[in-house]
Amino acid sequence: MPQVSPRSATYALAALFALALACDLLWMPIQVSDSLDEILKAQQSPSAWTSFTDAMGQNVYLRALRIAQSKVLFDLSWGRHYWLVYRGFHAALLIAAIVLFVRALRVETMVDFGAAAFALVVLIGLHTFRGMLQEAFPINHHLEIVVACLITINLARSRGGLGVDIAAALTFTTAALTLESGLLVWVVAVGAWVVGWRGISGRGIALLTACLLAYMVLRFGYLSKGLPVLTDRNSGYLLERLEPDQIQQRFGAQAYWFHAYNVVVSATSVLFAEPQSGVFIAVRGWLQRGPMVQLLLPVISSVLTTALMVWIALRSARLRAFDDTERYFFVFIAVLAVNAAISYAYTKDEIVSPAGAFYALAAFGAVRQLLLVSGHWRPRARMAGTLLLCALAALWTVRSVGVHYKLRWQATRHQLDWVSLPYEWQRQDRWPSDPAAQQLLLQLRRTAIGMHIPNTRVGEPEWPGRLWPD
């Protein structure tokens, strides 16, 4: 009987999750909020280049490729297959992220396989991962940045060469012109180079640094774009979400305090699953005497996993060991620090999704190391350690499977937005006068309403809503 290699088994496991998640994503209408306006703009734009150049001069952000991508996908829809192209692209990105994640693990042994299986549920179960699936504008650019960061770590772990250096520079340029968090590609490349993963050579790092400087000159010099201000977005703070005017009122004179809060909680969110989007939801649930089990599930699993990483890191420091486990830790800490710093303006789980992906890579290193170390323990201790890891993997699996409930719930919401859209827009005098735009809206609505999506709104059964609360 042919034996399945640990690497093949890992890819097979990842394929099961990727396929299920991709189906969930495909079986979801294009969303209305934050998305429909972009599609209507894409329809009006004569070309992707025009979309790109127009976006260069607009507002405080430099996200020209974000707009141009929407236009490219719109044109690829051939005036008919909008849902298939936009949602298909989202699903393809998701599959790419999972494949790149597994590839970055370099699974060779059974121990690697066990650790990779654990890391996979950490990746999918972490709340930052959900932000890459639930929404799209109409492309989920946070997911694109995660893919770019994972491409970079794979390039860094490759054999290298001129092509790798050029690919890294192209990845950086694409990511940086899509979202600000695209700058993390540089952090990943430099972090990997420092720890000894030098597939991207010193020459490549210099090229990436030149691209970073060019970005700074373009953004702050040539285009004179500033930085986001307090009143740009709503944001979580302690136990509530604050609207922009509330943020201005409360922190207008002491913005640095609000910025510091955002940086710190963005980091703790990845490490401890609390707060989420700036709000301490478990603490709030406890104060409101709500059911705690489901609120504590993410916190307990994250705290235990982070504690495991800290223990392994301290042990390595004591033994002065430095192998791939410590390399994963170092790159994760670098990405987390910069990702949290980028989140200074407002907190959103999606923004720290690259740090979330690298947290899962670090979890792989920690579990792998524990499995190797436990080989020298007494049988009883080894058994206890294995059972504890197994229980922790089960907690993360519960979090991962909950993504299905969240995505079905979100699909129902998107569909309902389409149901009332023409009537709402006509009442608000927003219905476009352009016949082509009208036709596009009606076509998108027809596709959305035509989907038979399971009805999560009746509240029956109750347990999914209890187990995976919002």
């Binding site: 088994a9 496991l13 099961l16 999750f17 396929l19 299920a20 998640l21 189906c23 969930d24 079986w27 059974m110 121990v111 396989f113 066990g114 650790a115 299986a117 654990f118 996979l120 549920v121 579990v367 499995l371 190797l372 080989g375 049988p379 009883r380 080894r382 058994m383 350690g385 294995t386 890891l389 197994c390 993997a393 089960a394 993360w396 699996t397 519960v398 991962s400 499977v401 299905h404 079905r408 569909q415 309902l416 389409w418 149901v419 009332s420 009537y423 959305a448 309403i449 035509g450 989907m451 038979h452 999506i453 399971p454 009805n455 999560t456 709104r457 009746v458 029956e460 059964p461 999914p464």
Partner: protein, 148 residues
């Protein structure tokens, strides 16, 4: 015991929850694509049930198939009332206490007579639902919810 927990066996054991989770997830998604979600399987049999289930998309689909938005339909027990009941869509939507669905029915052309309007008004105690109903009050309808 030492053999039971050698590294390879421990690795397989740790991978087990992930494997089970992935298989379960895939089965649920496959069942959904095949047309029967194992968790959320309630489907509307008529327009009144669609709004009772707060399923706006199903309501629109049925209305587009020329189902009368004013006709009564059978609504299964415990969706709105304890027993199976014959309700108009407006009554069912008001019973579901969902103002968006009530508004949707008016947008789809619902025009309840005074008796239906009164029953819908009294079946729901949701403020927003009652506001929307008041905005579409037919001639002769009164807000009288006193028990006979």
């Amino acid at each position: 015991m030492a053999r039971l927990v050698d590294r390879n066996r421990a690795s397989v054991l740790i991978a087990l929850p992930t494997f089970l989770g992935a298989v379960l997830y895939l089965i649920v998604v496959a069942a959904e694509i095949a047309g029967g979600h194992p968790i959320w399987y309630l489907e509307a049999r008529n327009l009144s049930e669609a709004v009772a289930l707060r399923d706006g998309a199903a309501a629109v689909r049925l209305a587009e198939q020329k189902q009368d938005v004013n006709a009564t339909g059978e609504v299964r027990a415990r969706l709105i009332l304890d027993d199976t009941a014959m309700l108009t869509p407006i009554e069912a939507a008001a019973g579901a206490r969902d103002e968006d669905i009530v508004q949707l029915l008016f947008d789809l052309g619902a025009s309840p007579d005074a008796a239906v309007w009164n029953r819908a008004f009294c079946i729901s105690d949701a403020t927003r639902v009652r506001e929307i109903l008041r905005a579409h009050r037919p001639p002769g309808a009164v807000e009288d919810c006193a028990e006979p």
